[in-house]
Amino acid sequence: MRIRMQITKDGDLRYVSHLDFVRMVERALRCSGVPVAYSEGYNPRPKIGYSPALPVGVSSETEFVDVWLSQRRDPKVIAGQVGWCLPKGAEVLGAREVQERAPALTAVVTNAGYELRIKVCGLVRQELEEAIAKLCDGSDFSGRVSIQFFDQDCVVLKLVVPAGSRRGPKPKEVMAEILSGLDVSRVLDAPVIHRTELFVGGEENPPRLLTIDL
């Protein structure tokens, strides 16, 4: 049986690498006694798949984990058991069964959506819009940026870029490009980046949101 879970990587877990997050999930599976299936051969590994890796410093509510089980279980029960074994910042938002032979997460993901939160002081909106336009008009930029929220102390940008099976710019790089076009004294701290969605879709279909039907 194959179960897909949606897990958050939030709070201080943003400072933990993807590899360490993987270890955390594996430990939670072991700790909760979930009957994970193992690969055959000389070096059996637990059969677990992950959505595209996040860089250190980025939090996420869209960490998807596919786990192959050696016995059938109720996905909701698994979600509860695993959630209990995870540290603060990692919450299981939901779980459901997926087809055994469905393609891997890294293969189906085509785009990722991010929220970039910046602490500012006296930033001029037009300056920001110009910096964004300059970035988007660049011939090799393959994403979309929009301003989701703007006020005196805080700006939230929405960014969608190719990811997973498609190559795309890193959110940190996009952010650096935009910031380079602004008055640096107006920006108070490093931007806080949070992954909000993953999109799947073949070449022909428009991308759809990857969800667990929470």
Binding site: G11, D12, L13, Y15, V16, S17, L19, D20, R23, M24, E26, R27, A28, L29, R30, C31, S32, G33, V36, Y38, Y42, N43, P44, P46, V56, G57, C85, L86, P87, K88, G89, D189, A190, V192
Partner: protein
């Protein structure tokens, strides 16, 4: 007060996960609800400290008390240290991000002499006066425990008190004193009355012509501080919920101690003598703890720890049971510290992961003669027979540990290492040709480290061999052992010399350590930061010759800098072991015959 760690700060340092806390099984208490706040410090990076079992034991012992809150603090890496100084962020605890100087006690676990500069760095970053004598009523009590307390003299003046031996019981007696409050002097006086607590302020070393002639004991302090020994490890059921590291630790595993101490009496080994007598856990308790640990952590590996796990009386039974129970959960049992004998191969086989990682053994010396000197009962035949068994069972990766610079060593003993290694390679090759051994060509890793004489061993009177002689012997090994099949690695000779200086040192070394720290020495055990040049400058500045400390030979009747600390093993016994060693005579294991070391009746009912 709580420390704020800005997002951009954490993004700018290596492995920010070291500083954020929030791990599974970490305990956060309300400081207003407790009487004693204890900061447990490990003077090395998070990844190293989180692999240390002692820290986890004390964490649970302390947090298990309603009147106490224990939090952890590790040495910030150099990039973080720089930022903390610039931004004026004081050293803070992981759990609540409180400045460590706001705690009642700051306790260091000191396991290795090359961590001493990190102790200074942490005190400095915390804003706590480095010397115990300079601290006031508002400063926390600073203490230390761990294996270096066998001879803590070079750093003793930094501590208000130290704890000798097992911590599980004495830590409660200490907290019971602290709970009742009182002024600093009064509290220290009362702590000095606890068995196992060493207050350096009560002892004054006296020198004559550069030589230590007496350790004067002030009024109200015990003549000698006795090491604490917990006899019944079955009553200590901790740790059963160790904190699970957030980022990859050096040892990412659950661990159960199967026994403490060692009956073998290898004459160079401080741990063996400093933790006598052997105290075993019963197999039921080991199994129970092992299962609880896996449940509480989800670790992939469960290690059965001790100084010589093949000697655990119930090892076969426990291994079999645990391996069986845990295999279904995807957990491997591992057995570090195996002796080079048949039983070990059987055990290793029983718990093997399907992918065979290598087997590790420690022959330590190249010739049978030198092995008798160090009391390692291991003949060349034993080595070849064990290797043969291992190879037949499918292990094609072997790691061997050797020491150079052991007392009475000559060039013949170095030849012995070379011959042994060549012979092993030859036998495996021949065996493969004959079809005796399946699998791949042999990968043999040989690790060579300079011998460091340590306190509380029969070799505590011996000096360390001079650096240039050690380097020449290493060069010879490099030249004569062909690379390819054999991967040779050597422990740094200069850092081994520093280890020897500190291990055999006295309080006159503290200015050197402080000088080295001022020059930027930190994380001396890490090759990327190790700087012998800076240390040499520090020694020169202070007018101290390191060779005088590392190489000095003590006479039988000399006062040793650690004489006022009583590990329980008497000096006469150690001297007689030294004599036997020089005579190449084996002393059998405590299990086979009691040699009268002084600890025979300390734990009644225990064997060895």
């Amino acid at each position: 007060m709580r420390v704020t760690l800005p997002h951009e700060l954490l993004l700018s340092v290596l492995r920010p996960g070291r500083y954020v806390g929030g791990e599974r099984n970490s305990v956060i208490k309300d400081h207003d609800q407790v009487k004693v706040r204890f900061a447990l410090a490990f003077p090395d990076a998070y990844e190293v400290g989180m692999s240390h079992l002692g820290l986890q034991i004390l964490y649970q012992e302390l947090n298990g008390r309603e009147d106490t809150a224990a939090e952890r603090v590790f040495a910030p890496w150099v990039d973080m240290e720089r930022e903390m100084r610039v931004r004026k962020i004081p050293l803070f605890s992981l759990e609540s991000r409180r400045p460590v100087r706001e705690f009642d006690v700051l306790g260091f676990s000191v396991q290795y002499e090359l961590q001493y500069t990190n102790v200074l760095m942490m005190l400095d970053l915390a804003g706590i006066p480095l010397l115990a004598a300079d601290r006031g009523e508002d400063d926390p009590l600073v203490c230390a425990g761990g294996v270096c307390v066998s001879n803590p003299e070079p750093i003793a003046p930094l501590f208000d008190f130290l704890v000798s031996g097992d911590g599980e019981q004495v830590v409660h007696e200490i907290i019971d004193v602290l709970v009742t409050r009182g002024d600093r002097k009064d509290v220290l006086k009362r702590l000095a009355g606890i068995d196992g607590v060493y207050v350096p302020g009560g002892y004054e070393p006296e020198y004559d012509g550069g030589k230590l002639v007496r350790i004067r004991v002030k009024d109200g302090f015990p003549e000698r501080v006795r090491r604490r020994i917990v006899c019944d490890l079955d009553r200590v059921l901790l740790p059963d919920k160790p904190v699970v590291p957030l980022i990859e630790a050096v040892h990412d595993r659950a661990a159960v101690e199967v026994f403490r101490g060692c009956a073998r009496g290898c004459r160079f080994c401080q741990a063996g003598f400093a933790y006598r007598p052997v105290r075993e856990r019963s197999p039921e308790v080991v199994r129970e703890l092992g299962c609880r640990l896996v449940q509480a952590t989800g670790h992939e590996e469960l290690s059965l720890l001790s100084l010589s796990t093949s000697d655990y009386r119930y090892v076969e039974q426990v291994c079999g049971e645990l391996a069986g129970e845990l295999a279904g959960r995807g957990v491997n049992v591992s057995l570090p510290s195996l002796r080079m004998d048949d039983l070990s191969i059987q055990l290793a086989d029983a718990v093997r992961e399907v992918r065979k990682s290598g087997l590790t053994f420690a022959p330590e010396a190249g010739t049978e003669r030198l092995r008798r000197v160090i009391n390692k009962q291991l003949t060349d035949e034993d080595i070849f027979r064990t290797a043969d068994k291992a190879w037949r069972a499918g292990w094609d990766r072997l790691k061997l540990y050797f020491m150079i610079g052991l007392p009475t060593e000559t060039d013949d003993d170095i030849t012995g290492i070379i011959t042994l290694v060549r012979e092993l390679v030859y036998r495996h090759r021949a065996g493969r040709r004959e079809g005796k051994y399946q699998g791949r060509p042999l990968k043999l890793a040989v690790s060579v480290a300079p011998f460091v004489p340590k306190a509380v061993t029969p070799m505590q009177w011996d000096g360390q061999t001079a650096g240039d002689v050690l380097k020449a012997r290493i060069d010879r090994l490099r030249k004569e052992i062909k690379r390819g099949t054999v991967e040779l690695s050597f422990h740094n000779v200069d850092s081994s010399q520093l280890e020897a200086v500190m291990a055999r040192g006295d309080r006159r070394l503290l200015p050197v350590i402080m000088n080295a720290y001022q020059r930027g020495c930190r994380f001396d055990a890490w090759t990327e930061l190790w700087s012998w040049e800076k240390w040499l400058e520090a020694f020169a500045d202070c007018g101290v010759d390191p060779g005088n400390y590392s190489g000095r030979v003590f006479e039988r009747n000399d006062v040793l800098p650690w004489d006022h600390l009583d590990a329980g093993v008497n000096k006469e016994f150690l001297w007689s072991e030294r004599t036997r060693g020089y005579g190449e005579v084996i002393t059998p294991s405590c299990r086979d015959a009691c040699a009268g070391c002084g600890l025979e009746n300390v734990c009644p009912g225990e064997v060895g």
